[in-house]
Symmetry: none
């Protein structure tokens, strides 16, 4: 597609704040919340930009926002439809296409973080041209990423890592960055996925980088900084993931973190979408990340564990965090539940 | 571009690159053999795919193959002209262009592993379009590579891995595949870099694949096969490399090897080009590859060690191989030195 009607700045990750918001969040045909994490991320971390949700009739997931058609959303001020789905392969579902065309017809631009480019779908390309609307793909890495060099950079870095995909690495990093800032530290949240980029306004879509440049991209993302400055880097995938471990290892090597926080969702027993792959234990995840991370930062350590306890009652969550903390000998907290546990985790990371 | 000479696989949505051989080897204007090493590598490792050579009148280098014009070569069955040059900068010489156009006019596709894309030369792009020929840049991966799934595939797989880049993973895999074949096993060499792809006539340039699809590309490269069939897969990079480990891990996961052979060059103490990074030991390299490889093939084992002893005298090489074999408790051989050591390594891999 020829992008001549897209402002040059839109292809620059640093310019996503110029995207056409407020947004209508599109849920596709999602029947599992984990696949709609982009929509949930925007609702939770950029609520001022989200006015409604919409999707196929078969979608059973909801962000809790009002459900509006593109025409209704446009009438209430929406300017863009954001595809709120992060599915396997990053593809545009066939069943979505007529709905996306309807959005274009209703006067909304479309913003996508999927691997597949919007303009590669002929019906969308034609409808966008017909109605003078924009198709905006934010999952395009910057050009000319260098290969990694591995040299130690000044500044401090924290990377969230996980036992799996889609269980809280982005939320944990956002919450930790916010807590560091609240304590007066100079800190940047570094986004590595489309939702993080939509939320923060900059970053590199690490899973879209050519593998040879993966570590180099991570080096670019958290550049040399003041020795007291923190980069809190959003993790991607898992070293144990049968499809995406390459992304995780390149990000780990290039980020050269001083501190990792291991993210896990209690009760998840298999890799999401890969029922034959049991999830690694938290201890195994810590051990492997430290072993591999030492290659570019021998001083790497684990600051603690972030548990996604969204499915538990508060008392059950507290009990579990205490048990796990005693078992692992590390602070264990749910960053979505402010309190003493989370403060201990932050103390440990800043130590 | 539609071309009845293209094997069906090439037009598949996602396919391993298939090259148009037999080849006419193009020597450009080379006056030093070192610059024509791609042509010499093809002559040495894929003589059955090479029927002739050709070049500018100023070229003084020869592979020893008959010199034929593109028209003559096409008449004798050639289907592609391979640029056999690896020059500084990876550029297409101006003096080559009229000859490459002549090759396209004569019905040959052009295959290049140079950095510069063939299609970036307007005269080549126009001639290819005019004559319905392909310009094949083998550093470009096939489109629509799927994400990895991790399911165990039938057939047996061997992957060469290394303590570093550029120390013999390709030659080891080629020699092992040849030895397997000599013993009557059904075997394919699976190429993962441009030279290997030219030699084997197919493959995927794994370092050019987008990171999210790295394991998926490796799965595509060694598909489900007869239970007794071997894929011998060319390794890339090293899990310990500060820039390229992502490539190595995706390849390891997606290849799900039954057997690894660890390649090392005695005397190399640091990562090539990264003097601050000491090379891992062979034992450490075995251990980490087995640990990570178990994720997609719990039965993974180390078949032995391939030492690149090109810089040693034969007696010193033999002594070193014996010492290392005793120390590691594994067969240790230099695949470039046929003999009892190499036979023991092959026995161990086939066990």
């Amino acid at each position: 597609m020829n992008d001549s009607n897209i402002p040059a700045a839109v292809s620059d990750a640093a310019s996503v704040l110029q995207l056409p918001y407020p947004y209508l969040l599109f849920l596709g045909d999602a029947t599992e919340a984990a696949f709609a994490k982009t929509a949930f991320g925007l609702r939770d971390w950029a609520p001022e930009r989200c006015i409604a949700e919409w999707g196929c009739d078969t979608a059973t997931v909801s962000t809790g926002l009002p459900r509006l058609s593109p025409k209704e959303a446009r009438a209430r001020g929406a300017r863009g439809l954001v595809i709120g789905i992060a599915n396997t392969g990053g593809v545009i579902g066939e069943s979505w296409v007529p709905l996306l065309v309807e959005a274009l017809e209703s006067g909304l631009d479309i913003v996508s973080g999927l691997h597949v480019k919007l303009g590669s779908v002929p019906a969308l390309k034609a409808a966008a041209a017909r109605h003078g609307r924009r198709l905006i793909d934010i999952r395009t890495p910057p050009p000319n990423i260098p290969c990694g060099v591995g040299s130690k950079r000044s500044g401090k870095r924290l990377l969230t890592v996980g036992t799996d995909c889609a269980l809280g690495k982005k939320y944990s990093a956002l919450a930790i960055a916010r807590a560091f800032k609240a304590r007066g530290h100079a800190v940047d949240f570094r986004a590595t996925g489309q939702t993080g980029i939509l939320i923060s306004g900059s970053g590199i879509p690490m899973d879209a980088v050519v593998a040879d440049f993966e570590a180099g991209a991570a080096e670019l993302l958290s550049p040399t900084a003041d020795p007291a400055h923190w980069d809190v880097i959003e993790g991607q995938g898992s070293l144990f993931h049968p499809a995406y471990a390459a992304v995780s290892l390149g990000l780990l090597h290039g980020s050269q973190p001083d501190v990792i926080v291991v993210c896990h969702q209690p009760g998840r027993e298999c890799v999401l979408g890969h029922p034959d792959f049991p999830l690694p234990s938290i201890a195994e995840t810590i051990d492997l990340n430290l072993r591999l991370g030492r290659r570019t930062n021998p001083a790497i350590r684990c600051g603690g564990v972030s548990l996604n306890t969204a499915l538990l009652e508060p008392s059950a969550a507290s009990e579990l965090m205490a048990q796990e903390s005693a078992r692992l000998g590390l602070p264990v907290a749910d960053p979505m539940r402010p309190g003493a546990e989370f403060e201990r985790l932050i103390n440990s990371c800043l130590d």
